[in-house]
């Protein structure tokens, strides 16, 4: 059954409007949990987080407590962290290495492959309890692309590699930083709540229009640190260099920008210090030798904020962040962010990468707190949604040709896909 559209997508009048109810309604959130989070591929974790057989991480994915783990044979699993007996969490530790997960309530015990291996006093069942049918439940599908593991609750979903569509090329571009093609999640997680609807973070993650106004103090910091940021020279640009918005299929999209802010991978800026120059030159030489000049330029001299629908963001900018976020009510989200780096990265390059991360990103960074503030101000403003109903998102729609990172083309890609999955008629 189709429902009314949440967007006005008028290509003739070059107007795109979003119904603000979708950012405040609990009823719409319930529907999202089924139609979006219940059907799309959702990021669980990265293989590098589980280095050895028996390693595990417990976390919440789309509101579901799961155990992301490897069994004794090294196979990866995603198990629902819920005892089959009476429902308690069976893994209470955040991370570690275990052969068994034992529920503290009645002692039911599971292997790290999810099998039920122990039931205290099982003679009381007189042989009627089939242990093989009582392993920990797991999502219908659990698949990987180049170290990134996703789950899907829909048995009939397309394979992950098909779902990712054009996003795969942009994941590859991030991984090309690593000489061995292996990236790792770096220790230390940033987990913070934002009192705003989760979809506002999707928008914010790729919206380069907001940079000059929201992040002027960051631009000042860059200038104070000797990074020359020229005002835009081309008409229509709000940023110093050209960047475009690219549609990648299935609701995924990315910005693709000529870098002006420095990158730990082979783009030196004064913030890194004179001593870092030689090492960054070496990193660049390795890139050119391995990938050729053209691909090396793509890797080193562009920055990209990639959204994998619905809620995974990989920002390859001042550093690489892997960021995911889930709704906790219509007006609140929980954000988890990690730093990603090449597995073989040396100590000083790793330290530089982490330092560069903090110049911009994270709850103590010089930019993210102002993003959080902006999103929270939106949510507060939306208390007037019934009287002031539509958000204006037509920027760039009237232009022929390329859509810029500071247009709203990519935001419209998200909202069209979201609207479609919610069963609405555009």
């Amino acid at each position: 059954m189709s429902v009314r559209s949440y967007i006005v997508d008028d290509r003739e009048r070059k107007t795109f409007l979003l119904d603000r109810e979708v950012l405040v309604s609990d009823e719409i959130l319930r529907k999202e949990m089924a139609q979006i989070f219940g059907r799309c591929w959702i990021y669980v974790g990265h293989s590098s987080e589980l280095k050895k057989p028996g390693d595990f991480r417990s976390r919440k994915v789309a509101g579901r407590p799961v155990i992301f783990c490897r069994d004794q044979g090294g196979q990866f699993h995603c198990l629902f962290n819920t005892c089959r007996h009476r429902g308690a969490i069976v893994c209470t530790e955040r991370e570690g290495n275990r052969r068994r997960f034992q529920c503290i309530y009645h002692g039911w015990t599971y292997g790290n492959d999810g099998r039920l291996v122990g039931v205290p006093g099982d003679d009381a069942y007189a042989g009627s309890l089939d242990k093989s049918a009582y392993g920990l439940r797991r999502p219908a599908r659990f698949e990987e692309y180049r170290g990134f593991w996703f789950m899907c609750l829909d048995e009939d979903a397309d394979p992950l590699v098909d779902y990712l569509a054009g996003a795969k090329d942009y994941i590859d571009l991030v991984i090309d930083q690593s000489p061995s093609g292996r990236m790792e999640i770096i220790a230390g997680v940033q987990e913070y709540d934002v009192a705003a609807n989760w979809k506002l973070m999707v928008e914010n993650s790729v919206d380069d229009y907001h940079l000059p106004s929201t992040h002027s103090t960051w631009l000042n910091f860059m200038a104070n640190s000797g990074v020359k940021i020229e005002p835009p020279k081309e008409e229509g640009l709000v940023l110093p260099t050209r960047g475009k918005a690219v549609e990648l299929g299935n609701g995924h999209f990315t910005t693709d920008n000529v870098n002006f802010r420095g990158r730990p991978v082979a783009k030196w800026i004064p913030i890194y210090g004179e001593a870092a120059k030689a090492e960054i030159d070496d990193i660049r030489r390795e890139l050119v030798t391995r990938l050729g000049a053209e691909r090396a330029t793509r890797v080193a001299d562009t920055n990209r904020n990639l959204v994998i629908f619905p809620n995974l963001v990989i920002n390859d900018g001042s550093s690489v962040t892997v960021r995911t976020f889930y709704p906790e009510g219509a007006g609140k989200m929980h954000v988890t962010a990690w730093a990603l780096g090449p597995l073989e990265e040396g100590e000083s390059a790793r330290a530089r990468r982490l330092d560069a991360f903090l110049t911009f990103y994270g709850p103590g960074g010089f930019a993210t707190p102002d993003d959080v503030e902006a999103l929270e101000l939106v949510q507060q403003g939306l208390a007037n949604w019934a009287e002031d109903r539509w958000s204006e998102m037509s920027r760039g729609m009237g232009k022929d040709g390329e859509q810029l990172n500071s247009d709203e083309h990519h935001l419209r890609i998200f909202w069209r896909r979201w609207n479609e999955l919610m069963g609405a008629q555009a």
Binding site: I186, G188, Q190, D193, S216, E347, L354, V372
Partner: protein
């Protein structure tokens, strides 16, 4: 001429210093606060899941060297630091102050804190944790050489951000 015996550091002196620092931070007198720092001062807030991590190999919330602290103050003082404009009201309670080591002119100090942060619309955030300082004797007082803030919450969660000097 006899050498003066090194002055013994008392907890009361350290407490007075920490209370003075807390008052400057709560009053947003960040330039005066900055004058309490040594030229090589550092300020760290480790991530909630790796309190004992090393900032060179672990992603922190804050890992500032002296220059970054200077830039952080410039940023916070700017009305375009939206996360702190209008300014939060903060109130720090510091207790359980202990001198945990003395090496030459360096004094290692541990203390507990609660910092309440209020924003408009009753957004109330309570940061609870421990401070770890390395203070350096300077004349009759101290300077801060290292300031490390360990947050007890398992995740930053509803505390949101650390957009002020915690």
């Amino acid at each position: 001429m006899t050498m003066a015996a090194p002055k013994v550091v008392t907890r009361a002196e350290v407490e007075d210093f920490l209370y003075h620092e807390a008052a400057l931070l709560d009053d947003w007198k960040l330039n005066e606060w900055e004058a309490l720092l040594t030229d090589d001062a550092t300020y760290y807030v480790p991530p909630n899941d790796q309190l004992e991590g090393d900032h060179r190999s672990t992603l922190f919330l804050v890992a500032d060297d002296r220059e970054r602290i200077r830039q952080r103050i410039i940023r916070i003082n700017d009305p375009n630091c939206h996360a702190e404009y209008p300014k939060s009201r903060t109130r720090r309670m510091i207790s359980n102050v202990r001198i945990v080591g003395v090496e030459g002119d360096l004094v290692k100090v541990a203390a507990n804190f609660v910092c309440y942060r209020y924003r408009r619309y009753e957004r109330i955030r309570e940061y609870v944790g421990a401070y770890r300082y390395i203070l350096k004797r300077a004349g009759d007082g101290f300077r801060i050489k290292e300031r490390r803030v360990l947050i007890d919450a398992h995740e930053l969660g509803s505390l949101g951000s650390v957009s002020f000097i915690l």
